[in-house]
Symmetry: D2
């Protein structure tokens, strides 16, 4: 940690900072430059993180030189984390495709979709049962009924299932039915929920918040990891920018950056990332080309009648075509990038 | 609601859209322009909101012409909402000042601050007991002990108190001690929590999310209102932009816009809005000048030693000076703008 | 164009709007909904674009249903535009790779780079001679001397060259030496310069502005096209967001969106898009996978000593490896996506 | 300047960095921490700014501790700059109000507006003659004819005039007619134009770019100052964010921040800042309360018929009311903040 002093900082101000910090066991390197003087602070990362040094008189700014995460970082865990869900490995040699409707709507809908995506080559079935909706008047999901239908679809197809948990109260209920817990973008900094899922042993897919930096995202993963659950999958689903033509701006650079900073697997969601079905396939291709460990794609037998996210859902046929397109890529990439 | 058709939309596609919508009880106005053809949809707001019309073939885009909120809107409730907390009216003729430390740290700290801010003219005492922190290794608040100290400070000074509730599990506990429940920016779309506080009868201060549009913010208020709790106070605390010199970008235009769209009172938080104590007073002045119903300001007896948010905290003296400065403004504004 | 009326709009206000518009030759469809009344305006696109209708009393908002661009749009020109530069076709079946240093620094540097990128498979040589720099104290380019060196490198290698033109005053000079004129992100809305390059017959590569929507970008292309120069190449180089880990956020969704809206070719610049050489190759792969017509990549024989943009420059070896990696992709993609 | 080394940086890598830098006359402080090792670089600011140190092997990141601007900074010029335009002082004790139409449209329009804003208390008349428009098909201004009409309005009312210069080619022409040259947001990093206006002796009002950080804005001012023209006025006019309800997000925190970092006067433009006339007065109040040196406001005798920016223009009556409202504030503020 580095303190940059104000140009007019007095001797007394500097002495006071130094004395206070030394009393906390921090060692200080003093370095006088042409314009600015800086103090290099040497000490335990946690001690440093909690020092309110910016508020001292004479301080212009404080610069953190260490990443704030530990368990989520590559230096702590150099090998990539692989997460096993039944026969499927997330973070392994093969990209994994998660597909299914935004919301579970009916027995017919989820079974038809499950069979079709399985046939087209998907590895995991998605389906929302508890739905976070910006309007209290919108469809909020079938709740436990939806989870039961998902479980039935798993039985029929053999596909593991993933569904979102929105609050600690329903965590046990959701965990009972699903193979992977999903934490939505709006809950990326719901710290209470992060801790609770960290206390389970279920794999957790943590979506990036709409305006979360990659560092904050990894810190949210750190919450889960620090509670004892090592099975965290990250999911890039687009960030909020000034561009309105797409629903979000899919930040594919997150893929190589996360691979560099962290050992956790990362999945790309081109459905939320673009908000328009037309752009899902090209962005799915791009996600894999950037090195993602997999994709999460919304698929609906009849998007025109979907209760949520219709505009960004692929039809069963669209999905089958996308999978055809991707299969050749997977062959190619498994050789060159993994 | 308006559907803009693709330029090449076929007769069959249009007929199909019209037929499907008419079956749902929607009336349609067809309007052929030079470049584009549009369909005007007339029907119940809720029916329209849940139609997945964007996904129909032949549709280029869909434009919503009604605001999605109802109870939070001016047309539903033309008079401004006034919220009574003991003797204090929020949304009345006088701006209200909420002040206190980011976190309750000790009996001495909170009592000293409470007395000082009361003396300087503050109306309500703030203090965090459950703290949302981006790092699991940072101080997470004194929890119930902090709430007890807040309550003691209320007893000593007579100031009502506000503190954040982070999760439904602790809602009853927090509600037992405080006069106003605070919902933080990271929880603005924690829909489960919104519903739960909507089922209490406590006033709720709802902070704007870091990347929430004003419409989404009002929709989150709508969640609380629609559960039966009419006492919602909005708080603008800065949004996330590309600018990094300030911690957030305080969007003061939210004040007149919210006043135009909604009847709910709005408070400005220049501490989080700027992240630097130096800019708190000018932005507090600007907030009142824009027409805010009050301010929320972080104050600490010794910011250099604060356990959180030191850089943006005013000292007790800074706060007294700010209040002096604002008093003359309040006299002025109470005449002209209310 | 659609006018949404305020809920309380009076008969007089509506009559006044209708009368004024009809006098301008606009035809009006009146459509009364449950909450809102809308007016559909039918008329010439240009007449509509210049009506200040938002300011009429009784108007809540105005919605544009037509895209503002014409010559840049797919409906005007359904076939993709192919731009010929010597033997190279941009927008054709094969992705095109533009490579070279940020700035031309010396004869040795540009010749060494030109030979190396040619050998590795690049199609066009880039090199800045006039450099837009945020500081007046930074290196501003070798100017005409740089252009001469570029031309010499073309002679030696046979590669066509591209370089930035920053102002109309130097346009003739730059145009004399280069095969493609580059317009930088900061000049995307330098309308005077857009018109001037539109009056030449040189191909123009127009970079997307840091905070430009895709619609604004196409409108800037429209400026060039409307002056008579049909040879516009778009270049996505990252937009500015809250994320600071990468220099910009490379918006690869621009690739399929532009392909949908426009006939113009689009190139991806992963060097500026990420700002870090380490992420250039994965994002180059992703760009091609998204369907881009080519790449623009910064390459320097010794990035540690580069006068500008060193951190994002590939070494000659890095570039050769990237090209190896991409070649297999190109084979694949030329079959499936073009 | 500080170099943070990678955790695995080798002895050879560090030696190489140190040797290269020492050869350039940079002195180095080596400081080994618990997690990270840093190098503090001491030397001439300009030498440091141009070192491509981020690209050296073994370097994780580089942190700049000095501001990049010099002439624009407070430490170079501690006293506030006051700019004299006829009898008017910008940056003095009294806020200055600049008012007038977006575009000069006709003799009647500009004269009527000039007389009305003068009567209401405005100090300077604005009016666009060369208009930057995102569409080539929109009205582009009356050009020299508009400048002549502005000059006539000055003669009639005695108000100094300001108008935008869009390109170096017309600089002499515009400078001949106006008292203050305006540089628009889209030209904030048109470095060629910045240099050219820096070579005149006219006061220049430099608008903040749509996505410019405050540091970049001051660097653009530095371009003008470093060419010898000390008369730079900054103008905050809103930045681009995800919020779409307002045209831009007016960043009023720029006012106290610029006052802290720089000696240059700063003006607030609530018309572009909000895009809606309804919010202009409250944001004008807020701008002055934040400490701005003045306001720039769009006023039109008949906004419903304005050729540009009608929705954000005040009528003559609106403007007179705003001035009444502000006068009481000015009395108050001139005492307390200046």
């Amino acid at each position: 940690m580095i303190i940059v002093l104000e140009q007019g900082a007095t001797r007394e101000q500097v002495d006071r900072i130094v004395k206070t910090l030394e009393e906390k066991g921090v060692q200080i390197h003093y370095s006088k430059g042409v314009d600015k003087t800086i103090l290099g602070l040497i000490g335990n990362k946690q001690t440093l993180a909690n020092l309110p040094v910016e508020r001292f008189e004479g301080v212009e700014k404080v610069v953190h030189v260490s990443e704030p995460f530990k368990l989520a970082g590559r230096s702590f865990h150099p090998e990539p984390t692989r997460i096993q869900v039944g026969d499927i490995t997330i973070g392994g040699n093969e990209p994994v495709v998660i597909a299914g409707p935004c919301s579970v709507e009916s027995r017919e809908q989820i079974l038809e979709t499950a069979k079709a995506v399985k046939k087209a080559g998907a590895h995991i079935l998605r389906g929302g049962a508890f739905k976070p909706r910006s309007s209290p008047y919108s469809f909020q999901g079938l709740k436990e009924e939806g989870l039961k239908l998902l479980a039935e679809a798993r039985e029929v197809t053999g596909l593991p299932v993933i569904s979102e948990v929105m609050d600690p109260e329903n965590l046990d209920l959701v965990a009972e039915y699903v193979d992977i817990l999903q934490l939505g973008a709006r809950n990326m900094q719901n710290f209470h929920l992060l801790k609770k899922v960290g206390q389970t042993n279920k794999p957790v897919m943590l979506k990036r918040g709409l305006s979360a930096t990659m560092e904050e995202w990894l810190m949210s993963a750190e919450y889960i990891l620090s509670e004892g659950n090592p099975n965290v999958i990250l999911c890039e689903r687009g960030i909020r920018t000034f561009e309105t033509y797409t629903r979000n701006t899919l930040d594919l650079s997150a893929v190589p950056v996360i691979k560099h900073l962290s050992h956790l697997p990362i999945i790309v969601d081109p459905s939320h990332g673009t908000g328009k079905w037309r752009y899902v396939t090209p962005m799915a291709r791009a996600g894999l080309a950037a090195g993602a460990d997999g994709l999460m794609v919304e698929v609906h037998p009849n998007p025109e009648a979907a209760w949520s996210d219709g505009p960004q859902s692929l039809t069963l046929d669209n999905f089958a075509s996308m999978m055809e397109d991707l299969k050749s890529m997977q062959a190619l990439f498994s050789a060159s990038t993994r």
